[in-house]
């Protein structure tokens, strides 16, 4: 790996008692970064078996269509586990990509 992630872009996974897994994604989501994020999130899902996965995207500074693939892939995984995926507070860079793809019709976005 050529680029090291600055500490501010660390992905934070936090599980609450009621089966909710909150993942805070920060910085840039492109194809390169998505591979790492996918592993981090899926590891957390396998550990926690959440009924709800909340992806906090308020700290996203850049996102291309790789971010859509990342969200849809996690949604498929949550579907398989009988849980739900919610995208929380998408920053403008994430929101416009979600809108372009019409994702609000297939994924819950709060607010």
């Amino acid at each position: 790996m050529i680029h090291k992630q600055p500490p501010s872009e660390e992905t934070l996974c936090r599980q609450t008692e009621d089966g909710v897994l909150c993942v805070r994604l920060c910085g840039e989501i492109d194809h390169h970064r998505a591979a790492t994020l996918r592993r981090t999130i899926d590891d957390a899902i396998c550990r926690c078996h959440p009924t709800e996965l909340r992806l906090d995207m308020s700290g996203i500074a850049f996102m291309d269509s790789s971010g859509l693939g990342l969200i849809m892939g996690r949604r498929a995984l949550m579907d398989k586990l009988g849980g739900e995926l919610i995208v929380v507070h998408p920053a403008p860079a994430a929101r416009r990509m979600l809108q372009l793809a019409g994702m609000e019709r297939i994924v819950r976005i709060e607010p």
């Binding site: 050529i2 492109d30 194809h31 269509s65």
Partner: protein, 160 residues
């Protein structure tokens, strides 16, 4: 060779003000490198934050396609040429010598992807066409693909 053009910005002929060419090996780490280089190149034209975000996103899509699709069987180089034309027309050409695209009409359809297993969304060409004023794609199977992205920069100084 098959090709298609969307929008009129790619047909415009104007004097070239500035130009850069870079050759990048098709490594995923170079996706952010390509975005940073293009952002630095167009800084002189004083784009708005939205214009810059549009350009970075479109470049990211085209470069990622070279890495994920064109050189899916191996590796190779990506050739990126950025030109700033008179009156703030930005044209970025992204070329690979990879596998080529057999059906361009199908490739640019929203949600069409040949790599669902790799969690691709099939929205790359849709993003490029939405965020640019012109997109031109030409491709030859077995020889490679060239994507040209054109964007009119209205810039901060002329913003209304």
């Amino acid at each position: 060779m098959a090709s298609y053009t969307v929008g009129d910005a790619c047909r415009t002929r104007r004097p070239v003000i500035n130009e850069i060419r870079i050759r990048l090996p098709a490594l995923s780490a170079n996706e952010s490198v390509a975005r940073a280089v293009v952002a630095a190149f167009c800084a002189a034209a004083d784009p708005t934050a939205t214009e810059l975000a549009d350009i970075k996103c479109a470049v990211s899509e085209a470069v990622t396609n070279c890495i994920v699709h064109a050189y899916r069987e191996g590796t190779g180089d990506i050739l990126l040429t950025a030109r700033l034309l008179q009156d703030r027309l930005l044209c970025i050409e992204i070329r690979d010598r990879g596998c080529g695209i057999p059906d361009l009409g199908q490739a640019r359809e929203p949600l069409y992807t040949t790599d669902a297993a790799g969690e691709r969304s099939g929205m790359g060409f849709t993003v490029m066409e939405s965020f640019c004023d012109g997109v031109r794609v030409s491709s030859t199977v077995g020889k490679g693909t060239t994507v040209t992205l054109c964007k009119r920069l209205r810039g901060r100084s002329t913003r209304t």
